[in-house]
Symmetry: C2
DNA sequence: GTAATAGTGTCTCTCAGACACTATTCT
DNA sequence: AGAATAGTGTCTGAGAGACACTATTAC
């Protein structure tokens, strides 16, 4: 049987119905706090509960589907403006039978790192979407609580060996802003002086713009130099988290 | 509409047909070489070409489906004997439209680390399966070449910060055997003395059995002490690869 | 002036890597 | 005996973290 004959005889209906969705763990930092985008479900199941934004995959790549969902729920134009700087990567796929009571749903979860985005417009499609502090998000629909937890852990780990912290800030940023990203994601303050020296010592992490902020900090201090993201894809050597000895085993 | 009414009105047929499969990048070390399990496809599309073992997901978790496929293709009993020591983890999900010419297929790829397994029996179900050096595997069906490449890179990275090298060796092993794993996966020889000291200095990586091998090496040398895997889930500090400065950017 | 912050200097401790060396075992 | 390997000792350089210090700016 050649390939054409095979295709003609092939009936997709022979296979059990499975739905494929994408869910997005979209993270940003607002007011110095790590926040995640959640939507309030209007329909059963889990009507009224908070959930990760997501939906069915259409005739598109999985990456495109995730980006589309993110655009829909934030009410922003995909690929332009604030959304063009979003870092999007696949997290993990969740497909336990029974995770959705309606039918077998296999969900490809994505992790998104975004600079501070505007609040979803109350009037738009994204009416039900809200940014919520990640630490206090609880009682999510489906298995989204677990997905969020694994997304957060991935985010924390990624900051160590990748330059993705820059995805949380604007195109130009100060070292202090970058440090605030690490502090928010890791939930720990970092020593300002050592952090400063370390960031500048990693090749390709940041590059100087030659300019400084227009004014100093709100409560004093000199003007800070501005940097933009460098061309490194991995940090070498990495910025390791303060050791959490007990989480090793 | 409450949840029960919703379920009753719900028709899976309303959604476009998508098939979900698992594909497994099963790695082992045989004769000091990193090898991957491949199957020869008997049917179109890509008849006669080599592919990763895999198949449709049934009424089971994704992890169970991957383990089942691995068991089927190796001809071994799942969960017993050699297969019980296999490390299995999700790699990434591939779902580009057109990656399978028959229909939309979303494939959840898994990565498996196995100690040296017996050759698949020529007479069994796994007739078409062969262990092939990973470096020379080429011209795979579908997008399996890309999946294999990403699996290999994940495996190389995992050895740095996880104790999974022990999944490639037997329950008791010498430091030299462990070093051979690293050398095979990274494709680089490692300094015996430094490797030895480093492995023993990482808490929880290996623990001594108090015994030694029955005899020395094939070409001389003292008897080596035997170790088993420790209880660490991450290596801290990690065993870093010899720096590959050019792959950073 | 006072407080806060940006950025740099310095010291110590740890660890990776290079190299050397001894002890043990096989052929 | 000769060769190969297991395991340890030692030195050096790089880097992380603690601490101190200066310079600059807001209020």
């Amino acid at each position: 049987m050649d390939e054409q004959a095979f295709l003609a005889a092939y009936d997709p209906r022979d296979y059990p119905a499975v739905a494929v969705t994408v869910d997005v763990v979209a993270l940003t930092i607002r007011d110095g706090v790590l926040q995640v985008l959640l939507v309030e479900r209007g329909e059963a199941p889990f009507a009224g509960r908070l959930a990760l934004p997501g939906g069915f995959v259409g005739d598109e790549t999985l990456d495109d589907a995730a980006l589309r969902e993110l655009a829909e729920e934030t009410g922003l134009q995909p690929g332009t403006g604030a959304l063009s700087r979003v870092h999007l990567e696949q997290l993990k796929t969740y497909g336990d039978p029974g995770r959705d009571p309606r039918m077998r749903v296999v969900s490809v979860a994505y992790l998104a790192f975004a600079p501070s985005l505007p609040d979803p417009r109350p009037g738009g499609d994204a009416a039900g979407a809200v940014w919520t502090p990640a630490a206090t998000a609880a009682d999510l629909a489906f298995d989204h609580g677990r997905i969020l937890a694994e997304g957060l852990e991935r985010a924390r780990a990624k900051l160590e060996y990748s330059p993705l912290a820059t995805a949380f800030v604007g195109p130009e940023f100060t070292i202090a802003e970058l440090r605030a990203v690490y502090a928010a994601v890791w939930g720990e303050d970092l020593h300002a002086g050592n952090f400063h020296r370390k960031v500048l010592s990693v090749p390709g992490f940041v590059e100087s713009t030659g300019t400084t902020t227009a004014r100093g900090g709100e409560r004093g201090g000199p003007r800070a130099k501005l940097y933009r993201a460098g061309d490194a894809r991995v940090l070498h050597p990495p910025l390791l988290r303060p050791t959490t000895e007990d989480t090793i085993r």
